[in-house]
């Protein structure tokens, strides 16, 4: 099948404004969009820039706007995208070049949530045990691959970049609801702010965007309730 890729190109060193590059290519319907991008880069225009690594939907490198929706290029097949496919960088982050965006602020917000096990009690002799039920409690939020689709799709984040964003909250949730973790008070302190969990307006774009099918809005809601329970 023949597809036309309309890719938003931008090189801040050369271009005054972003422009659309159009590339007609021959491809299989079962090819992924990432294959098409690779084809363009390897055979048509070597200057096309994008980030990718695993090509199997697990590293979270190649999130971008595909036909206007935040998706991983390695997880969508061309046959689901139509003849003309528009590809743009993720919204809300600074474009470094073409489809490559600056994720530094995003990752800094993630780190601000202390995404590691915090314990105060004395270390047990062996590992800290956990029942399968307790593990199940936060299973959904362990699936995050930090691709940035949810935060980049969040209108609250577009309106105000100070918001920590859904991805950071998802990763806080992963530890807040871990029975082995003892950092609840510190994390709740971080989340119980205007720019923390309370800037979420329950818009559900994050749920729509997540390539790992995490129920992000529910996780945020659970964090809100946890804060409420902690404070009353």
């Amino acid at each position: 099948m023949q597809v036309t890729l309309k890719i938003q190109r931008y090189n801040p060193e050369k271009d005054k404004a972003p422009w659309w590059g159009e590339y007609k290519i021959e491809a299989e319907p079962t090819d992924r969009l990432l294959d098409a991008l690779n084809y363009v880069k390897w055979h048509l225009d070597g200057t096309l820039t994008y980030r990718r690594s695993c090509a199997h939907g697990i590293c979270g490198s190649d999130a971008m706007q595909i036909n206007g929706a935040n998706r991983l290029a390695c997880k969508v097949l061309l046959r689901n995208l139509g003849q003309v496919i528009t590809v743009e960088p993720l919204r809300g982050y600074k474009v470094i070049k073409d489809l490559l965006v600056d994720m530094d602020a995003f990752l800094a917000r993630y780190r601000s949530m202390k995404p590691f096990l915090i314990t105060h009690s004395p270390q047990p002799e062996k590992e800290r045990l956990q029942s399968p039920e307790d593990r199940e409690r936060f299973d959904d939020t362990t699936k995050c691959i930090l691709c940035g689709c949810c935060t980049s799709g969040c209108p609250s984040f577009w309106a105000n970049g100070e918001y920590v964003g859904p991805a950071a909250i998802v990763n806080a949730h992963r530890f807040l609801f871990d029975s082995r973790d003892e950092g609840t008070v510190e994390r709740i302190e971080l989340l119980n702010t205007v720019d923390g969990v309370w800037r979420c307006r329950t818009i559900f774009n994050c749920v729509e965007a997540c390539p790992r099918e995490i129920n992000v809005t529910r996780a945020i809601g659970e964090v809100k309730k946890a804060i409420l329970m902690q404070k009353v």
Binding site: D104, A105, A108, R109, Y110, R111, S112, S156, A159, N160, G161, E162, V164, E189, L190, L191, N192, T193, V194, D195, G196, W198, R199, R201, K224, I227, L228, K231
Partner: protein
């Protein structure tokens, strides 16, 4: 963007604002539906006149009803607008100015409304 990754601690007012929105929303659902039912469906608007209001306000029940509805609705609405302003106005000066005018307007409306409800003296019913 400011200092990335360091959300500044706040007084926790956001938690109570969030809680208030939910509770007042549920209560208002009943109050407003009741209001709609009585004032617009059971009684035709044409029949609502001074006499009607005077009769209603002769008992403290309807005064309290209206007062609770006024306070909940006005604060609920003000908080909603506050969230929109905080979301979309980032420059400090503009944000402070818009919030201040919002609070002033809400305060005036709240005061006027409360005065009307609390100080209204129904004249003794004529024959």
């Amino acid at each position: 963007m400011g200092a990335a990754g360091s959300p500044r601690p706040e007084s926790g007012i956001e938690l109570w604002a969030w809680m208030f929105m939910r509770v007042s929303g549920v209560v208002l659902l009943f109050l407003a539906l009741g209001h709609l039912l009585i004032m617009h469906l059971i009684n035709n608007v044409d029949h609502i006149d001074f006499q009607f209001v005077a009769q209603r306000y002769a008992t403290p029940f309807w005064r309290t009803y209206d007062l609770v509805m006024l306070w909940l609705a006005l604060i609920h609405g003000t908080n909603g607008v506050r969230m929109v302003l905080v979301d979309y106005i980032s420059p400090r000066g503009w944000r402070a100015a818009s919030l201040a005018s919002l609070y002033v307007v809400s305060f005036i409306l709240l005061t006027l409304g409360s005065l009307a409800i609390l100080t209204f003296q129904p004249p003794l019913m004529g024959p």
